[in-house]
């Protein structure tokens, strides 16, 4: 695309073409040119971001949505007990994790979107890097991850929920382990640490 045609896309987006015939012609060009459509998409997003209304409508950051969904689907946990009674503890433990996990969730989503382009199906890579967005917004790319049988939408949703929960659980455990460290309750500070030496070959 030339600079001139980018300018036209931009003008079209701003409704800045007075001549209706020219406008129609531009629209036709836009509809037939995939590159122009991409430019349109980008400009429209930039425009929304500048006006400040992209965050509410556009799934730029799906972490909150995913966290909310995961916590809605969750069943009561019993990891933690407190002096305020079990029920109230569960009520605030659950969102806790969602907050803690937010960063990683978004990250996974972003990463997988970026990876979709360069990953051409390549049998040699074993195991393949997951290229599917966790939110399942672009399930097509999952083909590169799974060997032959394509999973259904429901299976994908279940899998992404499971992956989220591993990330979330990991974050929760890190926080709890900080507390345990402070209270000297981690294994490392007990005699048990010598129980199981790990072999290192390096």
């Amino acid at each position: 695309m030339t600079d001139r045609s980018y300018e036209q896309v931009s003008a079209l987006l701003d409704n800045a073409i007075d001549d209706t015939r020219e406008q129609e012609q531009q629209l036709d060009t836009l509809l037939s040119d995939s590159e122009a459509q991409e430019a349109w998409g980008r400009y429209a997003l930039i425009g929304r971001v500048m006006k400040g209304d992209a965050t509410t409508e556009q799934p730029l950051d799906i972490s909150a949505a995913v966290a909310a969904r995961v916590s809605n689907e969750a069943q009561p946990g019993k990891v933690v007990q407190g002096r305020f009674g079990k029920q109230s503890i569960q009520r605030w433990l659950r969102p806790t994790g969602s907050i803690a996990i937010a960063a990683s969730v978004a990250l996974v989503a972003v990463l997988s979107v970026q990876q979709t382009a360069p990953v051409v199906p390549e049998e040699t890579v074993q195991p393949a890097f997951a290229t599917a967005p966790i939110g399942g917004r672009n399930p097509v790319s999952y083909n590169t991850v799974l060997q032959s049988n394509e999973p259904t939408q429901a299976e994908l949703a279940q899998q992404s929920r499971l992956l989220q929960s591993y990330m979330l659980d990991h974050q929760q455990q890190l926080q709890l382990s900080l507390q345990a460290q402070q209270l000297n309750e981690n294994l490392e500070t007990n005699s048990e640490s010598d129980k199981k030496p790990v072999e290192n070959d390096q």
């Binding site: 909150a64 007990q81 970026q114 455990q173 790990v198």
Partner: protein, 343 residues
């Protein structure tokens, strides 16, 4: 789009003005630079390795002792998170720290001494942990002397670039093998404060960054922190004391050198309630979680997710092994593949 161009032009003009001003004061800058390096360079020139540790330890005490007000941006992958970061010490020596996320949901953490509270909206999701480190900003190891990270990490010092308008030393924390991530730290020459951090792969790809955008050191506690001591704290999280021991008797036969077992139990993981054996290992700087569950129940394909926090899933016989942590995927894979029945 036209607005964008206008802004661009305006910035160009400003730049011209700035460079004129800069040329004017060049003579003055030259004068300063004749005198300053003599004082600043001495710690580096003498003993490189020990002065690297010296500056690392300066940083860890600065994080505990300084009174400061800062703003920063944390970036992980393509995600940017701006935050305010305040720290101070009461006259009786009690530490107080406040971290406020500026984008999206209003999440704040308040640390007073050994108690850290995480406030969020709605307020019933807030909680308090007994911990003298705020989770989510910096690795806990940065608050402790460097000797805790030896011998599996080494630290090197170099002259750093200008960061947040200040002269810095550049510290590199390198693992002795290539099985974990490296850190780059830019530390203020004057105060020892951490001004910029990068977590990179051994190949140098940046995975996570923190950049302070403003940093003001105060003589005494920042005013906005002074009344935090009386703020109501959310309830405290307690863990069940008697955890079930692991059941599937699979254990890792390989981990990078220096990783120690912190926790081991059999429990249901968060949200999905999948019954799993759980192991948490740490090398003092980073942690790795290992989950073992029944393949039939888990039903995930073999896969890897790569990012600051990576995940590797492997099916081995009737068990699914999932390894999560801030480590290269190749390391996670090797850990997963080393899982064997305990002898």
């Amino acid at each position: 789009m036209r607005i964008l161009k206008q802004i661009l032009n305006r910035t160009k003009n400003q730049w011209k003005m700035t460079s004129n001003w800069w040329r004017g004061s060049l003579a003055g800058l030259l004068l300063v630079s004749f005198t300053a390096p003599v004082i600043a360079q001495t710690p580096v020139a003498e003993a490189p390795s020990s002065s690297a540790e010296y500056w690392f330890n300066q940083m860890s005490s600065a994080l505990r002792e300084l009174n400061f007000e800062a703003t920063l941006v944390k970036s992980s992958g393509a995600r940017l998170e701006p935050m305010t970061w305040l720290h101070g010490v009461y006259e009786d020596g009690l530490e107080v720290e406040l971290v406020v996320r500026l984008n999206g949901a209003d999440v704040r953490s308040v640390r007073i001494g050994d108690d850290t509270s995480y406030y969020s909206q709605p307020s019933d999701s807030s909680y308090t942990l007994h911990s003298d480190v705020t989770y989510g900003l910096l690795p806990a190891a940065f608050y402790q002397p460097f000797e805790n990270l030896q011998p599996h990490y080494q630290v090197l010092v170099d002259r750093g670039m200008r960061v947040t308008g200040r002269s810095t030393y550049f510290l590199r924390i390198l693992s002795r093998d290539n099985d974990r991530y490296h850190y780059g730290l830019w530390v203020d020459r004057k105060s020892g404060m951490l001004l910029k951090m990068q977590m990179t792969t051994p190949q140098g790809e940046v995975l996570e960054q923190i950049q302070l955008t403003t940093f003001v050191e105060r003589e005494s506690m920042p005013i906005s922190l002074s009344d935090l001591r009386g703020v109501p704290r959310p309830p405290r999280l307690h863990e069940i004391r008697n955890m079930e021991p692991p059941q599937f008797s699979l254990e890792p036969q390989w981990l990078p050198a220096g990783f120690k077992l912190l926790r081991a139990s059999h429990r249901r993981i968060a949200e999905t309630r999948l019954p799993s054996d759980y192991f948490l290992y740490t090398d003092g700087l980073t942690e790795v979680s290992i989950y073992v569950s029944q393949s039939q129940q888990q039903a995930l394909p073999e896969l890897a997710l790569k990012g600051p926090e990576s995940l590797f899933n492997l099916n081995q016989g009737e068990f699914a092994i999932t390894v999560v942590g801030k480590l290269p995927v190749s390391t996670l894979q090797r850990i997963a593949e080393s899982m064997q029945p305990a002898t």
